[in-house]
């Protein structure tokens, strides 16, 4: 890939362990699975949310409802980046979001703008009792006052570097990689 350097930050076992711990933290903070619903942000937050739901089910014997959210239409930069021609599916978790404890699941937290958009979109659907933010990688670089409640791993990435979460359903493996473009080191 045009001389870009990929550095492995987390392998499959690291990611699996992190997701298991995040699942436990979610349940602990929520004091059980009651009223808990997960919402994965398109695209890779969706697969991570499903894996966290699996972990919760394994530990608690009860699977929280899982939904998906595509925040493309809520982005604040349509005119600068242009629309994506193919939107992902937005589907609320069974039971809706009113009065529920919603956990937003995303792969990487960077500027915070995706989360801002997700909060706006959720507000258009209803009024959750509370919303938590859960991300696999917090890479810093926030442009908004947003902070994850539950984090898999905090990484200090430079502006020109990219953190990529890979999931088997899309990328063929479960891992986290740090990508440094050629000539920026």
């Amino acid at each position: 890939m045009d001389g870009a350097e990929r550095q492995l930050l987390m392998d499959e076992r690291d990611v699996t362990r992190a997701l298991a711990r995040m699942a436990r933290e979610i349940v602990e903070r929520n004091r059980g699975v009651g009223a808990l619903s997960l919402v994965g942000i398109q695209r890779r937050g969706v697969q991570l949310a499903a894996r966290i739901a699996d972990e919760i089910e394994r530990a608690e014997g009860q699977r929280p409802p899982v939904g998906t959210l595509d925040i493309t239409l809520y982005r604040d930069d349509l005119t600068t980046i242009g629309p994506r021609p193919v939107l992902g599916e937005t589907r609320l978790p069974d039971g809706g979001i009113d009065g529920r404890a919603i956990v937003i699941v995303d792969d990487v937290c960077y500027t915070g703008r995706t989360v801002r958009a997700a909060l706006d979109e959720l507000a258009d659907f209803g009024r959750p009792a509370r919303i938590l933010l859960c991300v696999l990688v917090d890479r810093g670089g926030r442009e908004l006052p947003i902070h994850p409640d539950i984090t898999g791993r905090a990484v200090d990435a430079a502006n020109l570097q990219r953190v990529e979460v890979l999931v088997p359903e899309i990328d063929g493996k479960l891992a986290v990689e740090l990508i440094t473009a050629a000539g920026t080191r």
Binding site: L73, I81, G82, P83, P85, T111, R113, D120, D124
Partner: protein, 320 residues
């Protein structure tokens, strides 16, 4: 360097689009359907954009459908019809548009009785122009919603046999459907009185059925066009009753079909002329699904025209 927008600046017709672009519109529309099912039927994606609906010809469905699409994307909209505007005082199309431009608009949706009006306007103003029907030329969003409805019901468009029935000669709906269906690999046929078929239409690779029974036996989907009664004084068909007897889509004919048919009609219907009420309200009819899909398709078109740089959008996935 300005990037090339995904659909270009305007949507004047389906003829200039390729299969990838048409498929992308349908896939985008697929995701927009869900917004109209929400309790709050609104997303902020076109917030702050001003859209003018410039309708120089009567329309209920198309105009309202565009207006719903615009409002559900949070755009600000203004409707202008030829009656009650300066058009009646003799203002030209370009002058009307330039005056609107001077008030800083972003998009124009235009319906006009003259073929080519949409592209004429698109070449002269910097706003995005969407053709909502121009003369006998094209009605691209109607064809897109027909394609989406066929795909919903038959699962695909490639290889599907679609027969367009009726007044092909005067029909912009037929023309846009022909382009769209052929781009996506459907088999296309037409059926209608010889006086209402364009000369040498076979050269486009379209089958012509002189008898409606043969068309129904062949087709997976029928798109039944409105007989444009306002043009019938020119003697294209002897009488409405005769038209119904020879070309009408009647229950008896549909029941004799070899397989389950999907029956479309762009509206407004002349019940008892090109289509019988039994069929229009029957199990094969998807006419109201077309209307529902119309809003989603128009949302997709407006959304893709508003920004339209998929290559750069790709990079946005890694922000966040």
């Amino acid at each position: 360097m300005p990037a090339t927008p995904f659909l270009g600046k305007d949507l004047v017709g389906l003829a200039p689009l390729d299969g990838t672009q048409i498929r992308a519109i349908l896939d985008t529309a697929e995701q927009f359907k869900e917004i109209s099912e929400r309790a709050i039927k609104k997303v902020p994606v076109l917030r702050g954009k001003t859209i003018v609906n410039l309708f120089f010809e009567a329309s209920t469905r198309t105009r309202i459908s565009f207006e719903f699409a615009e409002k559900r994307l949070s755009a600000d909209t203004v409707n202008i019809t030829s009656s009650g505007s300066s058009v009646q005082k003799g203002e030209t199309l370009v002058d009307t548009a330039r005056n609107l431009e001077a008030m800083r608009i972003d998009m124009v949706v235009i319906r006009h009785p003259s073929s080519g009006a949409a592209s004429f306007l698109a070449d002269r103003i910097p706003s995005n122009v969407v053709n909502a029907g121009d003369g006998r030329h094209e009605h691209p969003t109607q064809a897109l919603l027909d394609l989406l409805t066929i795909r919903d019901h038959l699962g695909r468009i490639e290889g599907v046999k679609v027969c367009i029935i009726g007044d092909i000669l005067h029909s912009r709906v037929a023309r846009s459907n022909l382009w769209g269906l052929m781009r996506l690999g459907a088999e296309v046929a037409v059926c209608g009185p010889h006086t209402l078929l364009p000369a040498a239409i076979e050269e486009l690779g379209v089958t012509v059925f002189p008898h409606i029974e043969d068309a129904i036996a062949w087709a997976d989907a029928l798109n039944v066009l409105r007989l444009q009664l306002e043009r019938m004084h020119a003697g294209f068909v002897p009488s409405l009753r005769e038209y119904n007897r020879v070309f009408g889509v009647t229950r008896e004919r549909v029941e004799r079909a070899a397989r389950d048919l999907v029956i479309l009609h762009p509206g407004p219907m002349n019940r008892g002329v090109e289509i019988d009420s039994d069929v229009a309200d029957g199990p094969h009819s998807v006419i109201l699904d077309q209307v529902t899909n119309g809003v989603a398709v128009r949302m997709a078109v407006l959304y893709l025209l508003a920004g339209g740089v998929p290559e750069r959008a790709e990079a946005a996935k890694h922000e966040g």
